[in-house]
Assembly symmetry: C2
Homo-oligomer: 193 residues x 2
Protein backbone atom coordinates (compact mmCIF):
# COMPACT_ATOMS: atom_id res chain seq x y z
CA UNK A 1 0.00 0.00 0.00
CA UNK A 2 2.84 2.40 0.71
CA UNK A 3 3.99 1.73 -2.86
CA UNK A 4 0.67 3.10 -4.06
CA UNK A 5 1.10 6.21 -1.93
CA UNK A 6 4.62 6.74 -3.28
CA UNK A 7 3.38 6.28 -6.83
CA UNK A 8 0.62 8.83 -6.32
CA UNK A 9 3.17 11.37 -5.05
CA UNK A 10 5.83 10.82 -7.73
CA UNK A 11 3.27 10.71 -10.56
CA UNK A 12 1.59 13.89 -9.36
CA UNK A 13 4.97 15.60 -9.01
CA UNK A 14 5.70 14.87 -12.69
CA UNK A 15 2.22 16.12 -13.73
CA UNK A 16 2.58 19.33 -11.65
CA UNK A 17 5.98 20.01 -13.16
CA UNK A 18 4.65 19.80 -16.71
CA UNK A 19 1.11 21.17 -16.44
CA UNK A 20 0.75 22.79 -13.03
CA UNK A 21 -1.64 22.30 -10.14
CA UNK A 22 -4.92 23.52 -11.59
CA UNK A 23 -4.41 21.68 -14.87
CA UNK A 24 -3.88 18.34 -13.15
CA UNK A 25 -7.07 16.42 -12.38
CA UNK A 26 -7.52 13.69 -9.79
CA UNK A 27 -8.72 11.22 -12.44
CA UNK A 28 -5.58 11.88 -14.47
CA UNK A 29 -3.45 11.31 -11.38
CA UNK A 30 -4.90 7.93 -10.45
CA UNK A 31 -4.87 6.78 -14.08
CA UNK A 32 -1.24 7.79 -14.58
CA UNK A 33 -0.27 6.23 -11.25
CA UNK A 34 -2.19 3.02 -12.00
CA UNK A 35 -3.93 3.39 -8.64
CA UNK A 36 -7.57 2.84 -7.68
CA UNK A 37 -9.45 6.13 -7.28
CA UNK A 38 -10.30 5.39 -3.66
CA UNK A 39 -6.61 5.09 -2.76
CA UNK A 40 -6.17 8.81 -3.30
CA UNK A 41 -8.62 9.75 -0.54
CA UNK A 42 -7.36 6.86 1.58
CA UNK A 43 -3.84 8.26 1.67
CA UNK A 44 -4.81 11.93 1.30
CA UNK A 45 -8.12 12.48 3.12
CA UNK A 46 -7.86 16.22 2.38
CA UNK A 47 -8.03 15.47 -1.37
CA UNK A 48 -6.15 17.45 -4.01
CA UNK A 49 -4.84 20.15 -1.65
CA UNK A 50 -3.57 17.51 0.79
CA UNK A 51 -1.85 15.58 -1.99
CA UNK A 52 -0.60 18.88 -3.47
CA UNK A 53 1.11 19.96 -0.26
CA UNK A 54 2.75 16.53 0.06
CA UNK A 55 3.95 16.66 -3.55
CA UNK A 56 5.40 20.15 -3.11
CA UNK A 57 7.37 19.00 -0.05
CA UNK A 58 8.53 15.77 -1.67
CA UNK A 59 9.58 17.57 -4.88
CA UNK A 60 11.40 20.19 -2.84
CA UNK A 61 13.35 17.56 -0.90
CA UNK A 62 14.26 15.69 -4.10
CA UNK A 63 15.51 18.85 -5.76
CA UNK A 64 17.51 19.79 -2.69
CA UNK A 65 19.26 16.41 -2.82
CA UNK A 66 20.06 17.09 -6.48
CA UNK A 67 21.60 20.46 -5.62
CA UNK A 68 23.84 18.78 -3.06
CA UNK A 69 25.02 16.40 -5.75
CA UNK A 70 26.65 19.35 -7.50
CA UNK A 71 28.28 20.79 -4.39
CA UNK A 72 29.77 17.60 -2.93
CA UNK A 73 32.22 16.70 -5.73
CA UNK A 74 32.94 20.27 -6.92
CA UNK A 75 36.41 21.73 -6.21
CA UNK A 76 34.79 25.01 -5.10
CA UNK A 77 31.30 26.54 -4.80
CA UNK A 78 31.66 28.61 -7.99
CA UNK A 79 32.32 25.44 -9.98
CA UNK A 80 29.32 23.78 -8.30
CA UNK A 81 27.10 26.61 -9.51
CA UNK A 82 28.60 26.43 -13.00
CA UNK A 83 27.86 22.68 -13.08
CA UNK A 84 24.33 23.17 -11.70
CA UNK A 85 23.38 25.60 -14.50
CA UNK A 86 24.99 23.38 -17.13
CA UNK A 87 23.12 20.39 -15.71
CA UNK A 88 19.84 22.31 -15.66
CA UNK A 89 20.32 23.21 -19.32
CA UNK A 90 21.14 19.64 -20.27
CA UNK A 91 18.06 18.31 -18.49
CA UNK A 92 15.87 20.89 -20.21
CA UNK A 93 17.19 19.91 -23.62
CA UNK A 94 16.86 16.18 -22.89
CA UNK A 95 13.22 16.52 -21.78
CA UNK A 96 11.98 18.77 -24.59
CA UNK A 97 12.08 21.76 -22.19
CA UNK A 98 9.60 20.19 -19.77
CA UNK A 99 11.81 19.23 -16.82
CA UNK A 100 12.70 22.43 -15.00
CA UNK A 101 11.92 23.58 -11.44
CA UNK A 102 9.56 21.02 -9.89
CA UNK A 103 7.43 23.58 -8.04
CA UNK A 104 7.71 26.94 -9.87
CA UNK A 105 4.51 26.54 -11.91
CA UNK A 106 2.52 25.50 -8.86
CA UNK A 107 4.11 28.27 -6.76
CA UNK A 108 2.94 30.98 -9.18
CA UNK A 109 -0.52 29.42 -9.49
CA UNK A 110 -1.13 29.26 -5.75
CA UNK A 111 0.70 32.42 -4.60
CA UNK A 112 -2.48 34.48 -4.51
CA UNK A 113 -5.11 31.74 -4.52
CA UNK A 114 -4.29 29.01 -1.96
CA UNK A 115 -2.62 29.99 1.31
CA UNK A 116 -1.91 26.40 2.44
CA UNK A 117 -0.05 25.54 -0.75
CA UNK A 118 1.65 28.96 -0.92
CA UNK A 119 3.15 28.29 2.51
CA UNK A 120 4.30 24.86 1.36
CA UNK A 121 6.12 26.40 -1.63
CA UNK A 122 7.62 29.11 0.60
CA UNK A 123 8.97 26.46 2.99
CA UNK A 124 10.52 24.51 0.13
CA UNK A 125 12.17 27.60 -1.35
CA UNK A 126 13.48 28.60 2.08
CA UNK A 127 14.98 25.12 2.55
CA UNK A 128 16.88 25.52 -0.72
CA UNK A 129 18.02 29.04 0.20
CA UNK A 130 19.29 27.90 3.60
CA UNK A 131 21.12 24.89 2.12
CA UNK A 132 22.85 26.82 -0.67
CA UNK A 133 23.71 29.75 1.63
CA UNK A 134 25.30 27.27 4.08
CA UNK A 135 27.57 26.04 1.26
CA UNK A 136 28.63 29.60 0.50
CA UNK A 137 29.22 30.28 4.20
CA UNK A 138 31.33 27.12 4.46
CA UNK A 139 33.44 28.60 1.68
CA UNK A 140 34.11 31.62 3.87
CA UNK A 141 31.50 34.05 2.54
CA UNK A 142 29.85 36.14 5.30
CA UNK A 143 26.31 35.10 6.28
CA UNK A 144 24.48 38.16 4.89
CA UNK A 145 26.41 38.10 1.64
CA UNK A 146 25.91 34.34 1.35
CA UNK A 147 22.14 34.69 1.63
CA UNK A 148 21.94 37.57 -0.88
CA UNK A 149 24.20 35.64 -3.26
CA UNK A 150 21.95 32.59 -2.93
CA UNK A 151 18.83 34.64 -3.73
CA UNK A 152 20.63 36.02 -6.78
CA UNK A 153 21.74 32.59 -8.01
CA UNK A 154 18.35 30.93 -7.46
CA UNK A 155 16.50 33.87 -9.07
CA UNK A 156 18.77 33.56 -12.10
CA UNK A 157 18.04 29.83 -12.31
CA UNK A 158 14.26 30.20 -11.96
CA UNK A 159 14.09 33.11 -14.39
CA UNK A 160 16.21 31.25 -16.93
CA UNK A 161 13.94 28.20 -16.62
CA UNK A 162 10.97 30.39 -17.54
CA UNK A 163 12.63 31.95 -20.60
CA UNK A 164 14.16 28.65 -21.77
CA UNK A 165 10.85 26.80 -21.54
CA UNK A 166 8.93 29.55 -23.36
CA UNK A 167 11.44 29.99 -26.18
CA UNK A 168 12.76 26.41 -26.31
CA UNK A 169 16.34 27.54 -26.32
CA UNK A 170 19.22 27.25 -23.83
CA UNK A 171 20.44 30.80 -24.50
CA UNK A 172 18.90 32.26 -21.29
CA UNK A 173 20.41 29.46 -19.16
CA UNK A 174 23.86 30.12 -20.62
CA UNK A 175 23.63 33.86 -19.87
CA UNK A 176 22.19 33.32 -16.37
CA UNK A 177 24.74 30.60 -15.56
CA UNK A 178 27.65 32.80 -16.58
CA UNK A 179 26.37 35.65 -14.38
CA UNK A 180 25.71 33.32 -11.44
CA UNK A 181 29.15 31.73 -11.67
CA UNK A 182 30.85 35.13 -11.95
CA UNK A 183 28.91 36.43 -8.93
CA UNK A 184 30.05 33.47 -6.82
CA UNK A 185 33.65 33.85 -7.97
CA UNK A 186 33.54 37.57 -7.10
CA UNK A 187 32.19 36.73 -3.63
CA UNK A 188 35.01 34.21 -3.13
CA UNK A 189 37.59 36.83 -4.12
CA UNK A 190 36.00 39.38 -1.77
CA UNK A 191 36.50 37.03 1.21
CA UNK A 192 40.17 37.84 1.62
CA UNK A 193 39.60 41.57 0.92
CA UNK B 1 -18.93 47.07 -28.49
CA UNK B 2 -15.20 47.58 -28.71
CA UNK B 3 -15.39 48.66 -25.06
CA UNK B 4 -16.69 45.21 -24.23
CA UNK B 5 -13.82 43.59 -26.11
CA UNK B 6 -11.29 45.77 -24.29
CA UNK B 7 -12.91 44.95 -20.95
CA UNK B 8 -12.74 41.23 -21.67
CA UNK B 9 -9.02 41.51 -22.43
CA UNK B 10 -8.03 43.70 -19.49
CA UNK B 11 -10.15 41.71 -17.02
CA UNK B 12 -8.72 38.40 -18.24
CA UNK B 13 -5.20 39.82 -18.05
CA UNK B 14 -5.75 40.60 -14.37
CA UNK B 15 -7.22 37.14 -13.70
CA UNK B 16 -4.35 35.38 -15.54
CA UNK B 17 -1.81 37.38 -13.56
CA UNK B 18 -3.30 36.32 -10.24
CA UNK B 19 -4.54 32.79 -10.87
CA UNK B 20 -3.14 31.65 -14.19
CA UNK B 21 -4.70 30.37 -17.42
CA UNK B 22 -6.13 27.03 -16.31
CA UNK B 23 -7.57 28.44 -13.10
CA UNK B 24 -9.50 31.16 -14.93
CA UNK B 25 -12.93 30.09 -16.19
CA UNK B 26 -14.92 31.72 -18.99
CA UNK B 27 -17.87 32.33 -16.66
CA UNK B 28 -15.60 34.12 -14.21
CA UNK B 29 -14.22 36.26 -17.03
CA UNK B 30 -17.59 37.48 -18.34
CA UNK B 31 -18.88 38.05 -14.79
CA UNK B 32 -15.82 40.06 -13.76
CA UNK B 33 -15.92 42.02 -17.04
CA UNK B 34 -19.65 42.67 -16.72
CA UNK B 35 -20.09 41.34 -20.25
CA UNK B 36 -22.75 39.05 -21.72
CA UNK B 37 -21.48 35.47 -22.16
CA UNK B 38 -22.14 35.56 -25.90
CA UNK B 39 -19.82 38.55 -26.34
CA UNK B 40 -16.83 36.35 -25.53
CA UNK B 41 -17.39 34.08 -28.52
CA UNK B 42 -18.44 37.07 -30.63
CA UNK B 43 -15.07 38.75 -30.18
CA UNK B 44 -13.02 35.57 -29.72
CA UNK B 45 -14.54 32.85 -31.92
CA UNK B 46 -11.69 30.52 -30.93
CA UNK B 47 -12.83 30.67 -27.29
CA UNK B 48 -10.47 30.60 -24.33
CA UNK B 49 -7.31 29.89 -26.33
CA UNK B 50 -8.12 32.74 -28.73
CA UNK B 51 -8.78 35.16 -25.87
CA UNK B 52 -5.71 33.81 -24.06
CA UNK B 53 -3.36 34.54 -26.95
CA UNK B 54 -4.80 38.06 -27.25
CA UNK B 55 -4.38 38.66 -23.52
CA UNK B 56 -0.78 37.44 -23.56
CA UNK B 57 0.05 39.84 -26.41
CA UNK B 58 -1.81 42.76 -24.84
CA UNK B 59 -0.20 42.17 -21.43
CA UNK B 60 3.21 41.89 -23.05
CA UNK B 61 2.79 45.20 -24.88
CA UNK B 62 1.57 46.94 -21.70
CA UNK B 63 4.52 45.67 -19.72
CA UNK B 64 6.93 46.71 -22.46
CA UNK B 65 5.56 50.26 -22.29
CA UNK B 66 6.10 50.18 -18.52
CA UNK B 67 9.73 49.14 -18.97
CA UNK B 68 10.27 52.07 -21.32
CA UNK B 69 8.93 54.39 -18.63
CA UNK B 70 11.96 53.52 -16.52
CA UNK B 71 14.51 53.95 -19.31
CA UNK B 72 13.28 57.27 -20.75
CA UNK B 73 13.85 59.53 -17.72
CA UNK B 74 16.85 57.65 -16.24
CA UNK B 75 20.29 59.30 -16.41
CA UNK B 76 21.81 55.98 -17.55
CA UNK B 77 20.72 52.39 -18.20
CA UNK B 78 22.07 51.09 -14.88
CA UNK B 79 19.88 53.57 -13.01
CA UNK B 80 16.91 52.54 -15.15
CA UNK B 81 17.41 48.93 -14.07
CA UNK B 82 17.81 49.97 -10.44
CA UNK B 83 14.52 51.89 -10.68
CA UNK B 84 12.76 49.03 -12.45
CA UNK B 85 13.58 46.53 -9.67
CA UNK B 86 12.64 49.07 -6.98
CA UNK B 87 9.37 49.74 -8.81
CA UNK B 88 8.66 46.02 -9.17
CA UNK B 89 9.17 45.57 -5.43
CA UNK B 90 6.91 48.51 -4.59
CA UNK B 91 4.14 47.19 -6.83
CA UNK B 92 4.42 43.74 -5.25
CA UNK B 93 4.12 45.19 -1.75
CA UNK B 94 1.21 47.46 -2.74
CA UNK B 95 -0.76 44.58 -4.29
CA UNK B 96 -0.26 42.02 -1.52
CA UNK B 97 2.32 40.24 -3.71
CA UNK B 98 -0.15 39.58 -6.52
CA UNK B 99 0.95 42.00 -9.22
CA UNK B 100 4.16 40.66 -10.72
CA UNK B 101 4.97 39.54 -14.27
CA UNK B 102 1.71 39.57 -16.27
CA UNK B 103 2.47 36.39 -18.22
CA UNK B 104 4.91 34.26 -16.19
CA UNK B 105 2.26 32.03 -14.61
CA UNK B 106 0.58 31.41 -17.95
CA UNK B 107 3.95 30.87 -19.66
CA UNK B 108 4.89 28.06 -17.26
CA UNK B 109 1.42 26.51 -17.47
CA UNK B 110 1.40 26.36 -21.26
CA UNK B 111 5.10 25.69 -21.98
CA UNK B 112 4.55 21.96 -22.37
CA UNK B 113 0.78 21.82 -22.85
CA UNK B 114 -0.38 24.40 -25.44
CA UNK B 115 1.86 25.17 -28.41
CA UNK B 116 -0.20 28.16 -29.64
CA UNK B 117 -0.02 29.93 -26.29
CA UNK B 118 3.61 28.91 -25.71
CA UNK B 119 4.52 30.67 -28.94
CA UNK B 120 2.58 33.76 -27.86
CA UNK B 121 4.53 33.90 -24.58
CA UNK B 122 7.83 33.34 -26.43
CA UNK B 123 7.03 36.25 -28.78
CA UNK B 124 6.24 38.55 -25.86
CA UNK B 125 9.42 37.64 -24.00
CA UNK B 126 11.47 38.14 -27.18
CA UNK B 127 9.92 41.60 -27.66
CA UNK B 128 11.05 42.55 -24.15
CA UNK B 129 14.52 41.12 -24.71
CA UNK B 130 14.95 43.02 -27.98
CA UNK B 131 13.71 46.29 -26.45
CA UNK B 132 15.93 46.14 -23.36
CA UNK B 133 18.96 44.97 -25.35
CA UNK B 134 18.47 47.95 -27.70
CA UNK B 135 18.66 50.28 -24.70
CA UNK B 136 21.92 48.66 -23.61
CA UNK B 137 23.29 48.87 -27.15
CA UNK B 138 22.35 52.55 -27.33
CA UNK B 139 24.47 52.99 -24.21
CA UNK B 140 27.45 51.60 -26.11
CA UNK B 141 27.39 47.97 -25.00
CA UNK B 142 28.22 45.53 -27.84
CA UNK B 143 25.26 43.62 -29.31
CA UNK B 144 26.16 40.14 -28.01
CA UNK B 145 26.96 41.45 -24.54
CA UNK B 146 23.78 43.54 -24.52
CA UNK B 147 21.61 40.52 -25.27
CA UNK B 148 23.31 38.32 -22.66
CA UNK B 149 23.04 41.14 -20.11
CA UNK B 150 19.33 41.50 -20.90
CA UNK B 151 18.71 37.78 -20.40
CA UNK B 152 20.53 38.02 -17.07
CA UNK B 153 18.55 41.05 -15.91
CA UNK B 154 15.16 39.67 -16.98
CA UNK B 155 15.94 36.24 -15.46
CA UNK B 156 16.79 37.96 -12.18
CA UNK B 157 13.50 39.88 -12.28
CA UNK B 158 11.35 36.84 -13.09
CA UNK B 159 13.10 34.64 -10.54
CA UNK B 160 12.77 37.30 -7.86
CA UNK B 161 9.05 37.66 -8.64
CA UNK B 162 8.63 33.94 -7.96
CA UNK B 163 10.49 33.95 -4.64
CA UNK B 164 8.87 37.23 -3.48
CA UNK B 165 5.36 36.00 -4.24
CA UNK B 166 5.92 32.64 -2.53
CA UNK B 167 7.53 34.05 0.63
CA UNK B 168 5.71 37.42 0.73
CA UNK B 169 8.91 39.34 1.24
CA UNK B 170 10.89 41.81 -0.88
CA UNK B 171 14.24 40.32 0.14
CA UNK B 172 14.74 38.39 -3.14
CA UNK B 173 13.90 41.49 -5.21
CA UNK B 174 16.47 43.55 -3.29
CA UNK B 175 19.20 40.94 -3.85
CA UNK B 176 18.31 40.43 -7.52
CA UNK B 177 18.05 44.16 -8.17
CA UNK B 178 21.47 44.82 -6.65
CA UNK B 179 23.03 42.11 -8.82
CA UNK B 180 21.25 43.32 -11.95
CA UNK B 181 22.28 46.93 -11.38
CA UNK B 182 25.89 45.93 -10.68
CA UNK B 183 25.99 43.80 -13.84
CA UNK B 184 24.80 46.72 -15.96
CA UNK B 185 27.29 49.10 -14.34
CA UNK B 186 30.10 46.61 -15.00
CA UNK B 187 29.04 46.35 -18.65
CA UNK B 188 29.08 50.15 -18.94
CA UNK B 189 32.60 50.28 -17.45
CA UNK B 190 33.76 47.53 -19.84
CA UNK B 191 32.77 49.65 -22.88
CA UNK B 192 35.81 51.89 -22.66
CA UNK B 193 38.10 48.96 -21.78
Amino acid sequence: MSNTRDRLVTTTAELFRRQGYTGTGLKQIVTAAGAPFGSLYHFFPGGKEHLGAEVIRWSGASYLALVNEFFDPAPDVATAIEWAFAGAGMTLAQTDYADACPIATVALEVASTNETLRQATAEVFESWIVAVAARFESAGIAADAARALTLTVLSLLEGAFLFCRAARTLEPMAAAGATATAAVRAALLARSG
